[in-house]
């Protein structure tokens, strides 16, 4: 049950805004009917009768189904619904000339800190908006709100990733301007967000030097899907066992198209290079 409005939406994602404690929108309202289809008690009893795995051919003759059995070919992508919605988001972004970045990383590698650092600089050139994804709290959205930019928080509840529907709903709640930059900070997780297209222009994966240089090999899917890899916290290199060249090589093995940047959000080192690259992409976009 939702703890804010008391509705029975269990586990669905919720949108929140910093400084507006009354504001919250359920993403799943009217969108996901599947888990709540009505079951008829008679059928459930019947279902229990033969629920033994591996005995599905009814060969014992104790039970006979009326009606024909048919096979229907779908050949449908499992993520089709998400992918179609992501394309809708992408179309909207293209029409308004909004450049969208999807930031992915494990928790604590510096996604929000990076945004805090680059947004004030980008804001001088382009309007910036942010969608924050976390299971709970508006902590990250509060930090971004303090910069004076348009921001909305998606709380995924039990969910481990953002999907295109959540972004679609969040975008409707934001006042996005034409020719702007939208940063989506995904849920801190190096596995699940890799599979879900949100409609972004580019996926940016962030790792930090405290995490181990074999990360790209341990979590290859996300590095394979990403367009840009940012190695953060390079100011800590003297204190940790981390081989930058090896990490880069590992990342390139997984994805040879990856654009590679090395930065320290804390000291500011390397940020100018990444920002220059980003600005060029924004102008060309």
């Amino acid at each position: 049950m939702c703890d804010t409005c008391g509705c029975s939406s269990d586990g669905g994602a919720v949108l929140r805004k910093p400084g507006e404690s009354d504001y919250h929108v359920h993403v799943s309202e009217g969108a996901h009917g599947h888990a709540h289809t009505h079951s008829h008690s008679g059928e459930e009893l019947h279902a229990e009768d033969h629920h033994h795995e591996g005995h599905h051919d009814h060969g014992d003759g104790s039970h006979h189904h009326e009606g024909a059995v048919r096979k229907i070919v779908l050949e449908q992508d499992v993520l089709q619904k998400n992918n179609l919605l992501a394309e809708r988001n992408r179309g909207y972004f293209e029409a308004k000339n909004i450049f969208v970045l999807n930031f992915l990383s494990s928790p604590g590698s510096g996604k929000t800190s990076l945004l805090e650092k680059i947004i004030p600089l980008m804001q001088q050139r382009f309007p910036v908006a942010v969608i924050e994804g976390d299971q709970q709290t508006t902590n990250d959205a509060d930090r971004i709100h303090a910069l004076g930019v348009e921001v909305i928080q998606i709380n995924t509840g039990s969910g481990c990733h953002l999907d295109a529907l959540m972004v679609n709903r969040a975008v409707r709640e934001l006042d996005l301007q034409d020719n702007s930059l939208l940063c989506i900070e995904n849920v801190g997780n190096l596995v699940c967000p890799a599979l879900f297209d949100l409609g972004e222009a580019l996926k940016v994966v962030i790792i930090s030097v405290t995490e181990g240089d074999d990360k790209p090999l341990k979590y290859p899917t996300i590095f394979h899907e990403a367009d840009i890899c940012i190695l953060n916290k390079i100011d800590l290199l003297p204190y940790v066992e981390f081989d930058v060249a090896k990490c880069r090589e590992n990342a390139m093995r997984v994805n040879h198209h990856l654009e590679w940047f090395e930065v320290s959000v804390k000291s500011g080192e390397g940020l100018a290079v990444w920002l220059e690259w980003l600005e060029k992409r924004l102008v060309r976009h």
């Binding site: 189904h65 050949e75 290859p220």
Partner: protein, 114 residues
């Protein structure tokens, strides 16, 4: 645990199709999950049975075909089996390898009863 949300979207898709076809029940769902698609078939099967409760697919048998990964070298064109994205061409040692199969993730077909 993205397998749970994926299981739910599979149920949603097969129920929609089954209703279209006027089915009373889905007795089988055939999936194609490539070996390097990033999906754990075992985890998905576990989630599927939980997600199917109270739906037309409650008794459905989930069958999974798992095609092997195949890479194609961007330099010499050689095709060879791969087990992950970081493949190296066994012919010319190039890392410019394109995955041509093994990333599939499809609902192939469903078996329905009327």
């Amino acid at each position: 645990m993205h397998e749970m949300s994926i299981a739910l979207s599979i149920i949603e898709a097969v129920e929609e199709k089954a209703r279209e076809e006027g089915a009373g029940k889905i007795s089988g769902v055939d999936l194609v999950i490539g070996k390097i698609s990033g999906i754990e078939p075992e985890s998905l099967k576990f989630c599927f049975s939980a997600a199917a409760k109270g739906t037309l697919a409650e008794d459905a048998v989930l069958m999974v075909e798992e095609p092997e990964g195949t890479g194609e070298c961007g330099d010499c064109g050689m095709r060879f089996p791969v087990t992950f994205y970081y493949a190296e061409c066994p012919g010319c040692r190039s890392l410019r390898v394109k995955i041509v199969s093994g990333e599939e993730f499809l609902i192939q077909s469903i078996t329905i009863e009327e």
